[in-house]
């Protein structure tokens, strides 16, 4: 009996020692980051032949797997979970960027569990800035700051501003405060909403296509050019309004005049709403650069949907700040005010510099822009 136990003990021990390391891979069909990680895992399986076993769970179409996924995220207390998610022993790795970043992390975790290799202090992915002899990790320059900066610079885009100035001037000339309050608010709210939809479309586009190298390069180049243009504008522009699309501008002016001339107030509201949607759809083309850069940045960071859309809402709010300021001054003083170039100069130069740096990082070291996710 004792020998039986002894044999069983050695046998089971032997089996345990040879048991491959269990890795659970949660993925979704159609998720581009997942398919990239899947390819990488296939390679790993060959490298560590017999030493690791990867169990795959598709969660978009399989309820049972989805339940298991939920069980694991509860068990590991994972906030803002999504796929791909890899569970290795007690560790988990959320998301996948590329072989050099997330791939290296996965490899290290596996090596540690299989061979007990110590994890190296991962300092390579940090970028430090020496400011006033204080070492600042640029990774800790958080997403809210980036959001506020890019949205602020985007907000001073003169393309869309002229319509609001024209509308408010017309409303003030009509000497009707009620119309100014209501029609001005309708125009601003709908403009903000249209911009939110526009940002959401960009964001979901990037989320859908996932990590595509050449898109990252294109966005990087757009950011570098956009950054240089903003710096140039901040340094040399005298605050003049360029005349572009004179015919289109005349059409919009005529439409505003017709809409405000409506006898029925409800028709005016409807007219302004339609106008806000249409002109903002035209004007978004004029400012496609910064929203594309920002949403691309956001799509590479792992957050929950609520967080994603909160950031997009924050962007829209900051983007609309100058419009809101002009509107509130108009309400208070019943006069139209422009925002002087001297206030936009600093934001153009500083924001342009940040956007330029983002462009360089996107091309050379995109993993730095994952804000530690």
């Amino acid at each position: 009996m004792f020998f039986v136990f002894l044999i069983l003990f050695f046998f089971t021990n032997k089996v345990f020692a040879n048991e491959p390391l269990n890795i659970k891979f949660f993925y979704g069909k159609g998720c581009p980051h997942c398919s990239q990680e899947e390819k990488f895992l296939k390679k790993l399986e060959t490298e560590h032949q017999g030493k690791i076993s990867i169990e795959k769970y598709e969660i978009y179409n399989n309820q049972e797997n989805s339940n298991l996924f939920n069980q694991f995220i509860k068990q590991h207390n994972i906030q803002a979970a999504g796929v791909p998610l890899l569970i290795i022993g007690d560790d988990y790795i959320l998301g996948y960027e590329n072989e050099n970043t997330t791939g290296a992390k996965i490899n290290k975790t596996i090596n540690l569990l299989l061979y007990g290799e110590q994890k190296e202090e991962d300092d390579n992915n940090s970028l430090y800035l020496n400011l006033f002899s204080k070492k600042i990790d640029l990774k800790s320059v958080s997403l809210p700051i980036a959001t506020i900066l890019i949205a602020f610079v985007d907000g001073f885009n003169p393309c869309a501003m002229w319509i609001l100035i024209f509308l408010i001037t017309m409303l003030i000339n009509m000497k009707d405060r009620k119309k100014l309050y209501i029609l001005g608010s309708v125009f601003i709210i709908i403009s903000g909403f249209v911009y939110f939809i526009f940002l959401t479309a960009w964001f979901n586009f990037f989320k859908f296509i996932g990590y595509v190298y050449w898109i990252k390069i294109i966005i990087g180049i757009v950011a570098i050019i956009s950054g240089i243009l903003h710096i140039k504008n901040g340094l040399f522009s005298k605050g003049e309004c360029h005349v572009t699309n004179a015919t289109q501008r005349k059409n919009i002016i005529d439409r505003i005049k017709t809409t405000l001339g409506q006898k029925s107030f409800l028709l005016s509201i409807l007219g302004i709403s339609i106008l806000a949607v249409s002109v903002n759809l035209i004007e978004v083309v004029c400012s496609a650069g910064l929203p594309a850069i920002y949403t691309n940045l956001l799509s590479n960071i792992h957050l929950s949907n609520t967080q994603y859309y909160s950031y997009l809402s924050l962007y829209v709010l900051i983007f609309m700040l100058d419009d809101l300021l002009i509107f509130f001054i108009a309400i208070k003083t019943f006069e139209i005010t422009g925002i002087s170039k001297k206030y936009t100069k600093v934001s153009s130069i500083f924001g342009g510099f940040i956007i330029f740096i983002i462009g360089i990082i996107l091309i050379l070291k995109p993993e730095l822009l994952m804000f530690g996710s």
């Binding site: 005298k238 605050g239 309004c241 005349v243 422009g338 925002i339 170039k341």
Partner: protein
Amino acid sequence: MKVLKFGAIWCSGCLIMKPRWAEIEKDLTWLKTQYYDADENPDLVEKYKITDYPCFIFLDKNDKEIHREYGEIEKNNLIQIINKHKDQ
């Protein structure tokens, strides 16, 4: 000397320049200025080949253009330009 001021009601820079010119005109009562809304005066815009707003065209006694400025300009700079050309 005379100054032609071109602007548009949709242009933020033009709104900034309006009170600055009002102050100058109040201080320099001898100065002749004329404001033109660009949308309502396309023929003049075409004549002076104006591409950006606000645009300020300084004319001599014979209505010949002697100087031109675009964009936001500080009040003191404008006074300097006016003083430089006032006898022309």
